[in-house]
């Protein structure tokens, strides 16, 4: 009964960790694609022809950096969720062991 009450929360933590990881990977992939575009622009236009064009691609490069920065807290959330999941499982396992030891104590004495 108690397991059934806790299980949805544990599943939620695991799902959140997976979701955050997936989102972080997508952001990093998106950032790398933007960087490729920026590189190709600069490699095909070694000299600045249009100042606006140059500013645009500079903005694209900044966006790529922003996406990469956004991935960090997502990775952090995913890792903390995994560690919290392990902590909850360890706590439950410890509580089960304590109850079992307390139940065996009177029988032993």
């Amino acid at each position: 009964m108690r397991d059934r009450r806790v299980l949805p929360w544990l599943i939620g933590m695991g799902a959140l960790a997976l979701l955050a990881t997936a989102l972080a990977v997508v952001l990093i992939w998106w950032a790398s694609e933007l960087q490729v575009q920026v590189y190709e622009f600069y490699s095909t236009n070694p000299q600045v022809v249009d100042q606006n064009d140059y500013a645009y691609w500079e903005r694209v490069g900044t966006n790529a950096y922003t996406l990469q920065t956004l991935a960090m807290p997502l990775f952090l959330a995913a890792l903390v969720a995994v560690f919290a999941l392990l902590a909850v499982l360890a706590r439950r396992q410890d509580a089960h062991a304590t109850r079992a030891a307390q139940a065996e104590a009177p029988a032993a004495s």
Partner: protein, 150 residues
């Protein structure tokens, strides 16, 4: 003994007893009234004393003896190992990043290489922070465990 009335039912022991109304108590029988044997002071002093303080047992639970072998909690061990591995991985990645030759840094249009580089960069700090958080959680679990045993 079979024919006698229990002396506790004697009128002198009943509520509202009045010797003038119900008569004087029968001295002979009253002496035979059962007495509750209480240990004398000398006997009380001879009671065995506890060598150690008695174990405090909370209501509804029994205390776990101290000589019980340590319980093994695999999840707690996994948490500690994963936390240490995270911190070590972060330190290795940071060290590689710091000691890398800037001239060897990749600058090109291969999205796979760029993705791997950015993934490593994005993982360093989260690995460090989450690893330390895991160690803190492990310590908190230990404190809770001690609290349960106490």
């Amino acid at each position: 003994m079979a024919g006698k009335v229990d002396p506790r039912f004697d009128p002198q022991y009943q509520r509202g007893y009045d010797p003038q109304v119900h008569g004087a108590p029968r001295v002979e029988e009253s002496r035979e009234a059962p007495r509750v044997e209480t240990p004398r002071i000398e006997e009380r002093r001879e009671e065995p004393r506890l060598e150690t303080a008695p174990e405090v047992v909370s209501a509804g639970s029994t205390a776990v003896p101290d000589d019980e072998p340590a319980r093994r909690i695999p999840y707690r061990l996994v948490l500690l190992l994963a936390s240490i591995a995270s911190v070590l991985a972060a330190v290795v990645l940071l060290w590689q990043r710091v000691t890398a030759d800037p001239l060897d840094a990749y600058y090109g249009s291969n999205p796979g290489i760029l993705f791997r580089q950015q993934l490593v960069d994005a993982l360093m700090i989260p690995l460090l922070v989450a690893g330390l958080t895991g160690v803190i959680l492990w310590l908190a679990l230990g404190a809770l465990r001690r609290g349960d045993d106490a």
